[in-house]
């Protein structure tokens, strides 16, 4: 097979990368030596570290991260390479690396969390998880759920992405409706404003935002997805019925059928076009209007997760974590790097322009970087207490991941919005949940 012999060692950096890395290194090294807070153990010197991460919503954060990793490598004598792919494609890439038994040393999970599927092939990171926690005031309560399996930790949670309320204060005031502090107020506002040509929208389709948003609503209504053990689905409840009923009312009164076709980006455009009265989405939706529609940017405000009928607020967010393959030959370097990354948690949050929400208590202390000093974004500091992930109040399990991949919960809301009866919908949803849960038990 000489035809296919690689013309160079695949681990060796290409000339182009080399030039890039070294130039970054030179620029950063003086600063780096000044700041040299930690000295890495000698054995990682000369190793290679390959990091797979996503294409962050904020391109500047990617640029910073690449530079940050390069500088760390420069300082510790480790050849670092960072590859970026879209978060939706990570599962395929991960499966391929697993099958190959080779690939990156550090990998990223975001929106799809596969810790429990792969944990047998992931390095146990409990030691550095504890070490990082101890050094930085501990982890927030929700941090363990995506990375813990049977009491051990297989990933380092780095940040989560919030989906708060983004609402048009000008439109609300003009119509004389209350800010969307409760789901009920949000519904009234949407009903009133839809009549004036400003409906709202939450995806009733197959996309990640649909999974996140409808869960926020359900959990704030007191509903749950599983019991705290994560073993049994809890779909057929009074709260679920109430949430479904409310979802239908919200759709009928405040949305248009467009939401059936939406993807993660559609509500951004809805806001940017000046149509939406409010959306429930990541702050990138608001941020990008600064250039696309400055008027909308000026009048859009960020709100706390709306409260359900019982006053409960649960904000379902997308967690992001780094894992390390067990087959990685550079685990020591990988761990060192992750510790270093978390030591610079605040810096990361700043570089992401406040987009990355911290898992570490020290960073989450008020005033938080960036958002603490931005009048509109300050409210985001109140989210760490109410943040939750899929599977709430149980852990983020394999079953729940499959439920999310098949969009079962948003499909339940879609069915009801389209006119199917609540009982029938619950029966269908419960059937899907049970089928998926039973399957994993067998496996």
């Amino acid at each position: 097979m000489t035809l296919f012999a690689p013309d160079r060692d695949p681990l060796q950096v290409t000339r182009r990368q080399f030039v890039r890395t070294t130039s970054i290194g030179l620029a950063g090294s003086s600063l780096a030596t000044m700041l040299a807070a930690r000295r890495a153990p000698a054995q990682i010197k000369g190793s290679n570290l390959r990091i797979l991460t996503w294409s962050h919503f904020i391109p500047a954060y990617d640029a910073w991260f690449d530079k940050f990793a390069g500088e760390w490598g420069e300082k510790n004598g480790v050849k670092v390479r960072v590859d970026h792919i879209p978060h939706l494609e990570i599962p395929a890439r991960m499966a391929a690396e697993f099958a190959a038994g080779a690939g990156h040393d550090i990998l990223f999970n975001g929106s799809t969390i596969l810790t429990r599927i792969y944990y047998k092939t992931l390095a146990d990171l409990t030691d550095i998880y504890d070490q990082i926690g101890k050094k930085h005031g501990g982890w927030i309560a929700a941090a363990r759920s995506p990375v813990e399996v049977e009491g051990r930790i297989y990933g380092i949670p780095v940040y989560y992405i919030l989906l708060p309320m983004l609402w048009r204060k000008d439109l609300f005031e003009e119509a004389g409706v209350k800010p969307p502090d409760t789901w009920e107020a949000a519904r009234v506002a949407a009903r009133t404003l839809k009549a004036k040509g400003h409906p709202t929208g939450i995806q009733l389709s197959h996309c990640n935002d649909a999974n996140l948003n409808w869960r926020s609503l359900l959990f704030s209504f007191g509903g749950t997805e599983t019991d705290p053990s994560g073993e049994h689905p809890t779909i057929d409840t009074k709260e679920m019925r109430e949430a479904l009923r409310f979802g239908k009312a919200l759709f009928d009164e405040g949305m248009t059928p467009e939401v059936f076709s939406w993807d993660d980006a559609s509500d951004n455009r809805y806001l940017a076009s000046g149509i939406a009265s409010w959306i429930h989405d990541a702050i990138s939706a608001y941020r990008t209007t600064e250039s696309t529609n400055p008027n909308v940017f000026k009048n859009t405000y960020v709100g706390l997760e709306p409260a359900g009928p019982g006053g409960k607020r649960v904000s379902v967010s997308a967690p992001n974590a780094f894992m390390v393959w067990k087959f990685s030959k550079n685990q020591a370097a990988a761990k060192e790097f992750l510790v270093h990354l978390m030591d610079n948690d605040k810096q990361g949050m700043i570089e992401s322009t406040g987009y990355n929400m911290p898992f570490l208590n020290d960073t989450a202390k008020k005033p938080m970087p960036v958002i603490g000093s931005d009048a509109k974004l300050q409210v985001l500091q109140d989210f760490p207490k109410i943040v939750a992930f899929f599977g709430y109040p149980g852990p983020y399990t394999t079953q729940i991941q499959e439920v999310a991949n098949l969009f079962v919960l948003p499909d339940m809301f879609t069915r009801v919005a389209r006119g199917q009866g609540i009982d029938e919908t619950i029966k269908w949803g419960l059937g899907e949940y049970q089928r998926i849960f039973a399957k994993h038990k067998k496996a």
């Binding site: 919503f57 970026h84 879209p86 391929a96 990541a282 990138s284 696309t292």
Partner: protein, 290 residues
Amino acid sequence: MSTSVLARPRTARQKETRRLVLIYAGITPFVLVAVFPIYWMAITAFKQDPDLYRMDNIPFWFNLAPTLQHFKTLFYQTNYGAWISNTMTISVWVALITLLTAVPAGYALARLRLPGAENAGIGIFMSYLVPPIILFLPLSRVVALLGLQDSWWALVLVYPTFTIPFCTWLMMGFFKTVPMEMEEAARVDGCGFFGAFVRVVLPVSVPGVLTSVIFAFTLSMQDFLYGLAFVAPGDQKPVPVGVPTELIRGDVYYWGSLMGAALLVGLPVAILYNFFLDRFIQGITGGVGK
């Protein structure tokens, strides 16, 4: 094919006019359907972002000044240049491998009366049926074993799995139309089987070979899954993988750059296609004497 079935003769000139009117009337919708999305992509590539998100404007033209910003993004902030050269190099290699395997195989199956040839031919075509989603995991192990992971060479290795079956059948059909006596004459002249194949059959098979090359090129540009699974480094990706993976950031689509990127590779291939279209058509049918 001068015999038009559409016209009913009056005078010759009327007949001709009528024929042309009918043809143009018939062809216009096709051209519109095929080209409009392309036009739309092209204009999107030159529009400023705020121009995209206005509902009251006429979408077919620029309401704000056109911009080259999206192309700048493409060339200065992504590895687009590298992706293009990767795509081209991959395609050339794939075409080469396909030719070296499919042309001889097609010839053997079509002309040499091998026992079991028919089933072998069917077997080769059947392999085309296995969808990439089934194959990509086992293949990733093969790729890793050969040490090709994260290099575009991995794609050179796997793309022939779908070009070989198709091109073998294409060439089989083609060789069957080459007159047998040409080879026999060559062999009588002392050429031997190999000589006859190389000196006599191949030269008249150029259209078929060209068709295979074009197919290998086109098919190499249609893959997404293999590229995604096997090649992560930013500078090793081919265009169809690099573009969507680096120009969609979470819920932000870089529409202008996406569309520009598609056109910059699609249009040259389309032009190339057209250069060879006549030969291509010959190649599908088997062209000697036609």
